[in-house]
């Protein structure tokens, strides 16, 4: 039986590339090295609710059709739409993303990624102040001071700490966890916080205050910091500032606690300034804990093809970008789109009610291997092969390192790349006909 080594796990942004997969009769029967999330994705695929056939909604019910019929129905929706939202494209390959951007340009759509509800504000922060970063390999080999700020890798990136950060053993960190100071800053004592040397509990939504206080202290102005700030006593903040300054190599990993809380992108913006301040004393970097395994890849591909990392509007015939105006949620809340194509992501589950309410009113095309809340709202459903399991392709890890995902088993389903290509051809055909 074939045993495939060093398969890449296509679940979270850690993109673990050391998975051993045993395949028997074109089925994955054993997985080694994966976490609970990865294991569920690799092995669970035979138990989960796959979309078994393309479908079109008729009289309120989704009924099976052929790929050709589904592609044609989807292309008609796109051609008849004056304002299409194309959203998602993050649990798929860079090759499919490139095709999706081409389709968005062809149809004058607005295309956005899951960064809209994730690390979008981090992209804005990087545009404001830069993004002093490093590869996870550098963190593994060098970082002796690690901070997890508003993120909970025990749950969201379960192997991050053993492969790349707190527990990993590297060139200059051969003692592993003992060689590193681990601090967690959060609003509640998470399972990650329980593993930390130091847990700093802040008042929800006061991240910007704490970053600002830390900056004041690092820059020698601790006299301006009040006795308590962000719910944290000044003495504790001074201690944290000392830990950061005295580290040989500092990495602040940050998550949704930073990007989704009050001040949003200004939190990341201020954090980049703090990293810059710390670099007057030592070496410091920051890395966003990316969720979807290839949301980083969307940012890369979109940037080299359009100049912008997300929220790109092709309505004027050229790429236009102004998040807050062209973000997927802003668009839906303004009830602007008259059609949507949602692929390799689940807006039905992960957008707030007002945005979902509008999605329920307009024609929705879904491209996904699995049935999910978006399927409940979709009018045309096109099933796809699972990238990293049934299709190969490129993905970018959270530190923007590209990795090749292998095809492990055969599939009867078309790949996202093929579906997007077919759709583009059909759209052009219909437009010529018109």
């Amino acid at each position: 039986m074939p045993v495939i080594k060093d398969a890449v796990c296509s679940l979270c942004g850690s993109l673990c590339d050391d998975i051993t997969v045993t395949v028997e009769d074109n089925k994955i029967t054993k997985i080694e090295n994966a976490c609970i999330l990865g294991h569920s994705k690799f092995v669970g695929m035979f138990e989960h609710d796959r979309i078994e056939t393309p479908m079109i909604r008729k009289d309120g019910e989704l009924v099976p059709v052929s790929y050709e019929e589904a592609i044609e129905a989807a292309a008609k929706i796109l051609v008849n739409s004056k304002r299409t939202l194309s959203y998602g494209w993050c649990s798929t390959s860079c090759e499919a993303i490139s095709g999706a951007i081409k389709l968005a340009e062809e149809t004058g759509s607005l295309i956005d990624s899951t960064a809209n509800v994730c690390h979008g504000p981090s992209a804005l922060a990087a545009q404001e102040k830069g993004s002093p970063s490093a590869s996870l390999g550098v963190i593994k080999n060098r970082a002796d001071v690690i901070v997890f700020w508003g993120c909970n890798p025990v749950h969201a990136h379960p192997r991050h700490m053993s492969r790349y950060s707190s527990f990993s053993k590297g060139l200059f960190t051969e003692k592993g966890r003992k060689a590193r100071t681990m601090t967690v800053i959060d609003v509640r004592k998470t399972d990650t916080a329980k593993l930390a040397d130091k847990y700093v509990e802040i008042e929800q939504g006061s991240d910007l205050l704490l970053v600002t206080a830390l900056r004041s202290i690092v820059n020698g102005h601790e006299d301006v910091v009040p006795e308590t700030i962000a719910g944290v006593p000044k003495a504790e903040i001074i201690e944290l500032a000392e830990t950061l300054k005295n580290g040989k190599f500092v990495c602040i990993f940050f998550g949704m606690g930073v990007t989704q809380s009050r001040s949003k992108y200004k939190n990341g913006d201020a954090m980049a300034s703090l990293i810059s301040d710390l670099n007057q004393h030592t070496k410091a970097v920051m890395i966003g804990m990316r969720g979807h395994y290839n949301v980083t890849g969307f940012g890369q591909v979109a940037t080299w093809e359009t100049g912008f990392p997300m929220a790109i509007d092709f309505a004027k015939g050229y790429p236009y970008y102004n998040p807050g105006e062209t973000g997927a949620n802003d668009l839906l809340v303004r009830e602007e789109p008259d059609a949507a194509i949602i692929a390799a992501a689940d807006a039905g589950a992960h957008f707030p009610q007002k945005a979902v309410r509008h999605l329920a009113r307009i024609p929705v095309i879904q491209i996904d291997p699995y049935a999910n809340p978006t399927t409940e709202l979709a009018d045309v459903v096109i099933p796809s092969a699972i990238v990293g399991i049934e299709a190969e392709g490129t993905a970018y890890r959270m530190d923007a390192i590209s990795l090749h995902m292998k095809k492990l088993i055969d599939s009867k389903f078309k790949t996202d790349e093929e579906i997007v290509k077919d759709l583009t051809v059909k759209v052009r055909e219909l437009k010529r006909g018109a």
């Binding site: 609970i36 609710d49 969720g291 009610q353």
Partner: protein, 127 residues
């Protein structure tokens, strides 16, 4: 009895393990609950597994009660997913990102039961 809480959402390992199995009951179990600390649950007179109605200016949702000693007083956590999104803020403050954390909420015990995923989504089609 109602309590006022600050509502946040976020990932959990169980929610993540059901990312590609959202039609399964395991996903419902992993996402349709609200965590409060024991003192807050006591104020409500609720035990784990009781139904709680969470109301914000954006909507209401019924979820199960769960205890989490890591939550400070007045902090409520619902795993990310359609139940949390029934009540979180769609306002992006002009920067693209909705308000998934820090939404003022009122929480009370109810006799209603949480809706399963399909029933919850069906409500959007009926609106």
């Amino acid at each position: 009895m109602k309590i006022k809480a600050n509502l946040i959402s976020g990932r959990t390992a169980n929610q993540g393990a059901h990312l590609e199995a959202k039609t399964h009951k395991g996903y419902f179990d992993a996402c349709a609950y609200c965590e409060l600390n024991s003192a807050d649950l006591e104020k409500l007179g609720a035990s784990e597994g009781d139904s709680l109605k969470v109301t914000t200016e954006f909507g209401e949702v019924v979820v199960f009660a769960k205890a989490n000693g890591g939550n400070p007083d007045g902090l409520a956590f619902i795993p990310m997913g359609p139940w949390a999104n029934a009540v979180l803020s769609p306002d992006t403050h002009g920067c693209g990102m909705p308000g998934f954390k820090g939404v003022p909420a009122e929480i009370e015990v109810t006799d209603e039961k949480p809706l399963d995923m399909k029933s919850l989504m069906k409500k959007y089609l009926e609106d």
